[in-house]
Structure formats: C-alpha cells, structure tokens
Assembly symmetry: C2
Homo-oligomer: 410 residues x 2
C-alpha cells in the first residue's frame, strides 16, 4: 500500500521556508508500514495543484497534503480537491460556529475572510484543528484517500496523529528501525567495519553522518512487529558487535543523556565555560529534560576579562593567548572550581570571519577536566562557516567528554 | 524559463533527514529569474528515478538533482541519467586520477568501490567537487539540461555556485525580494495593517511567522533588476509606512545585529544570565560575527546556587521562588554588576516536562536591566514542547530588549 506526501505553497519553492512537514509525515507513514516512494512540492497555482494531486492519486493509495488551508486567495488546496471530486465547497454552519467561538475565546476580532476555513465539500470528513484555526479534510476518492493538513508543523502533527491516522485504513505492514550512534569514527571507517552489511535490501542497513557522529540505521519491513523483529534481529546483533567501542547510544539516546547518566551514576556534576561555542554546549545540555541534578551551569566567557573573573590566571591568557592549549586547560580548571563541579568542558577558538592572534578561523582548543586530570585537544576545522565551526566544536567537546568518561581518562 | 529540483534518496522519504537542499536550490534558481513550479523527492529505485526525471524534463528547461552520487549500490542517479540519454557510463581516467590523488592527500586508504564516482557518460560535462569526492554532471538533453549534484549541502552549494550556474543559460529574468521583520505584532495584526496589499500577484506580498517575529516579503519579477525595482518600489514604501514602529529590520538584518548596533552607538555592553533558556540567548548572540565589543558574556545559572554566586540574594530566591518576577529582576541586576555591563537579559522559568514550585511548564519570567531601570515581563506559553518554550522565551527576551532600547524604557 502506497502513500505520498504533497507539500503545497509557493514559499517552499522560493526557498523561503524549509519543508520539514514532508520528512515528518513520511517517517510516520513509513513506520506504519506504508511504502512512501515519492513526495512533491507544488506552488500556489490551482492548475498545478490539481495536476499534482491527480498524478499522486494515480500511483498512491493515500495522498497527504500540507499547506494551502489558510484564508487568503493563494490558499487553494480546498478548491483543488473540490475540483478533483467534482463538488462545490460551501460553508458548514457547525464549522463556522466553531471558528467564531475560537476567535471569541482567543479575544481576537472576527474577520469575514476566515469563513473560507469553514467551508467543506459534501464528501469531506472535517478534521478538527486543536492547535490552530484551519480544519483539515479527509476525502475518499474512489478507493483512495486525500488528506489535507494545515502547514504549521504543530497543527499538522496534532491533526495527523489525533484525527487522520485513526480514520485511515491500515497499511498492512510494519517498519522496524533501530539506530546505532557512534563517535570518533568517520563514515569511511564505518563502511570498512560493516562491509557488505550496508545495503538497501530488507533488512536494510544505511549510514548517516550526523552532527553527533555517524549513525547506522537497521530497518526491516514485515507484516507485523514480531516478523520485523526476527528479520532485523540478527543484523542488529551483527552491527552492534562490529561497531563495539564506538557506539555511544542506540535508538532515541542522546549524547548529552548518555553523558549525564554516567555522571549521575558516579554522583558527579558538570559545568561548562565557553568562548568559541558561545553557549551552544550549554544549550545542547539544557535541551535535554531532567539534567539539572548533573549540570550546574556554565559561563559564556566572550570577553577575555570574563575568563579571568572566573579564575583563569591573566598571565596565562597574556603569555599563551586566548586561543591556546594553556588557556583552554586553565578555563576548564577554573570552571570546576567556580561552579564546584567534578567535571568541566572548556572551549576557546577562532570562529571568524577574521583571524585572531594570528590564528585562522577554525582553530579551536578544547579541554575536559575531571577527577583524573585535564585533557586538551586541538581541532582544526576546514569549514569557513561560523555556524559549522561552532557546531562541530560543540559535538567534538561532548564526544570527547563521553570518551573520557568511558575510558576513565578524565 | 522553468527549473525544477529533484531530491533523490530513500532516506528523505523515510524522514531520516530533512531535505534542505531543495529549499536552497529553489531560492538560488528563483533569484536568478527561473520559474520554479515543482520540486520532488524520489527514493533509491532506478525505475522511479528515471520516471521522475522524464516527467521533470517534460515540463522544465533545467532539472537539478541532489543526492545519489555516492559509491554504493543504492546510488543510482548516474545510471538513471545514462538511461535517459541512452549512453553507458565508463571510468574517466582523469577523474580516477583525481580521486586517487584526493584519497592520497587525505591520507585515506583507497577503496575500489570509489571508481563508481569516476564514471562519466560521453555527453556529460564533469563538475569538480571542491569539498568532497563525488563530481557532478551537466548533461544536455535535447534543448534542456540535467544537472546532478551531490547530497551533502556544503558540496552541493559549492558545486552549484562555482561549477553549474556559470555553465547554464541565463533564465532571462530577475526576482527582487525585500523583507520586513517585525516584533510585537501577530500575523493577524499584520494582515489588518496591510489589507489588500497581501496578494500573490506581481509584485507579491506575503507574510511568514518566524521565530524572531512576523516577516513580510515583497517580491517582484521582471526582465532585469531595474524593472524589478521600479515594480517593487512603491509597494515596499507602502509596506514600510504601514508597519512603521513594529519593524526591527529589513533584508538580511538580524535581531541580534540590530540590538548590537544600538548598543555600540551608545558605547554600552550587554551580558546575559539564563536559567530556562539554558544558553540559547548567548548562542543566538554569538552566532552573529563581530559582537565581541558589545557582548561581554553570560552565565547559565541552572543550579539555583549559581544564581546566588553571581549575586542574586539567596533570600530573594527563597522567599519568591526561582521562577518569579523578583528573582528575574535580581538576576538581571546581579548580571550587570558581575559582568560590568550596562545592559543585561535574565530568564527564569519552567521548561518542563514537570511542574516547578507549583508552576506549570511554559511559565517564564524575563527581565531586562539597563541604565533606565529594570523591566520584567511574564510569558505564558501554551506549548508543551521544551524546545519551543526555550526558543520562544529567547526571542521574546531579545525582542523585549530591542523594544526597550528603541523606546528608551531600559
């Protein structure tokens, strides 16, 4: 059984926004056992939306659209679906009442153009929008279905999970996915370790270079979860064995979560002092819920004077420079003292666009301080992008801490 | 003249990665005057890739593909293009020599499977890859063109700009875009202010709700930049006038950049102390280059003890709670003193998933401290998502600082 996603909106084709909905919907559909072979984007043009929907209906059992459900003239999804089934949209009094009520409760002035969102064709089942104003439609077309969802991701996701999925036929299949997440080895090395295991068959094994290391995904498709598990099981074991020592997590694990679990087990705490990464390490740590028992806090020491105030000897900065192994080490050591933690991460470097102390952008020193001592490491990123240098430094530091915790070197 | 983007890779259809390439390519193509009416994604299946390419070639003058140029069996883009033009790929000795040289210089062991990346069909012009290993192809098909680019965004972008664009015909058109960026007014209010100006005509006016406020984009398409400017000019002026007072920037301006410009003009500096936002405000500030003269640094005060160490009276935290107006104010005041800055931003709140001090997730207090005093504000986010609460709080704080600087209230 095939499903297809069609994202509607000229803004997607002008590159004004990135189409994250189709990735989200595709993943949900695939997990539910649907074969997703295509997805497309089309602009706000009635002829082209109709054409794209017709093409999709010829080759897929379910077509899910996102976007084009607003109130303005360029919101054309309803008109396109109406034309395909040969019906006329009309205002549904219940939808209108619901919408007027929504405006009243939100304390917003009613606007008549909103009435467009209260229209429905006779064959459409209306899908309530819990998060926003525009309801969706579920429309049977012969033995197939069109589902129209609003563009804003929060509205789309809630409507799909709560309203659309339960009303649709089952795909009659199940996709099992299992991920291994590595650090410290490149994609080339992962290929060497896995060899012929990497292939697009069923079960399939694929590798992805992500910001927190290379991920390896095993996927198996079968009629039900039990068969999928027995298909994937031996491959998962084989991959686990071959990657041993480089895997920091599996499935939904996060690098920060894994680090915090080790620290929690030892009753130790962590702090950060960041120059080049400018708060990104702290942000990555605090984006994980429930780490406040392990993460004390951090300092963003952008001005060198702040490094000194936190306890870095000013002679160290003056003698070796802000971007140096010595300053990175002193930052990590000062950080554990100031925040009263056992562990600390420190970063200092040149984010660019210009040189600093005669060092080019991409020059980064990081240090990890722990009960076992302080370890420093130099990163040289060939990237010219400030965002990339900051991101790579952040995950290099977190990866280095994970390794140090596992090898007992810090 | 029409252009179309086709992203190739099963990982896109499984939702394993988000397709950012097509947004980037579409924007480049649109800016160069191409009409981009469709874009698509197809999995690693030869029949379907060929079919998708054929459809695209029927309706567009240029088809740009991303992905499927690697060395494994599921990299099928070259085979699909070869089939369309009826040619056989063969190893190009110059490409092989270049690739072997690349491996030698990178100190990597040569792997024979890499030879696939050195193949070429006779009619393809090879596009060198400065960033990675897989070269692209530029293939004339009758009076149209297929351009194949590698999937990794850095490789794709460099190859498009340096190798593909200069070799392709000109679209014979020009798209002018101009953005206004607002803060403090919702999309509904922007609609009210702009009225019938918002329309998909030429020039077009569209609104986008972004994390840093509602953006309004005016776009005009014409034969050349001068005509586009004279078409867009009056509309741009009209939009500017109607949005007066709510616009913090235009074009490529960033909220942090605008804030820093005002501070720089006054010779003042900024620091941050973050609890709920956990470093995200510092990260947003330091993601902008050249702010080190204005931004001294920040503290991530996750543990309440860190708040006290930075100078928040422990009685304030004990009496009013960590998440309170009084603690937010005291944090901002302590922050200016500790970092020796004129301005400070402070945030404290409940990110969830559980309540804190009897307050539900989404409860946030922020304070802005400046020479004119301290202003505090409560935010109540209905979101259940930790990431969303942190992001909204960050931009609410930056927006509030921008407003305070412009209204002289802090």
């Amino acid at each position: 059984m095939r499903a297809e996603v069609l994202s509607i909106g000229t803004e997607l084709l002008l590159g004004e926004i990135v189409d994250t909905n189709s990735a989200w919907l595709s993943a949900r559909l695939a997990d539910a056992g649907w074969d997703v072979y295509w997805s497309g984007r089309v602009g706000d043009n009635l002829e082209r939306v109709v054409e794209a929907l017709e093409l999709a209906l010829r080759r897929s059992d379910i077509v899910v659209t996102s976007g084009g459900l607003g109130s303005t003239d360029d919101d054309l999804t309803r008109s396109a679906v109406a034309r395909i089934v040969g019906e006329e949209p009309a205002i549904d009094p219940r939808l209108e009442a619901h919408l007027r009520d929504w405006f009243a409760r939100a304390n917003l002035a009613w606007q008549d153009l909103m009435l467009k969102q209260a229209t429905r064709i006779p064959s459409a089942v209306s899908l309530p929008n819990r998060v926003g104003t525009a309801p969706g439609w579920l429309v049977p077309v012969r033995d197939r279905f069109i589902v129209t969802l609003p563009g804003p991701p929060r509205e789309l996701q809630a409507m799909w999970i709560e309203q659309a999925e339960p009303r649709l036929p089952k795909a009659g299949g199940f996709l099992l996915r299992h991920s291994f997440k590595t650090w410290g080895i490149g994609e080339g090395r992962v290929f060497e370790l896995l060899g012929a295991l990497v292939k697009p068959a069923n079960p399939s094994v694929a590798t992805y270079a992500k910001r927190d290391g290379v991920h390896v995904r095993v996927a198996a498709k079968a009629a039900n979860p039990v068969e999928a598990a027995s298909l994937a099981g031996p491959v998962i074991e084989e991959v686990r064995e071959r990657l041993a020592g480089s895997v920091w997590g599996e499935g939904e694990d996060t690098l920060v979560g894994q680090i915090c679990e080790v620290l929690r087990g030892r009753g130790h705490r962590l702090s950060t002092v960041e120059s080049i990464t400018g708060g990104l390490i702290a942000h990555e740590i605090t984006s994980v819920a429930g780490v406040s028992d392990v993460y004390a806090g951090g300092a963003v020491a952008y001005d060198p004077a702040v490094k000194v105030r936190i306890g870095v000897p000013s002679e160290t900065v003056e003698r070796f420079g802000v971007v140096s192994e010595e300053t990175a080490r002193a930052m990590a050591e000062a950080c554990t003292a100031w925040f009263e933690t056992e562990y600390a991460i420190a970063t200092t470097g040149v984010a660019g666009p210009t040189d600093l102390e005669g060092k080019p952008p991409g020059t980064v020193w990081m240090a990890i301080r722990g009960p076992g001592g302080t370890a420093a490491r130099r990163l040289a990123s060939s990237s010219r992008s400030r965002a990339q240098i900051q991101e790579r430094s952040t995950f290099a530091a977190l990866g280095q801490l994970w390794r140090a915790l596992n090898e007992g070197t810090a």
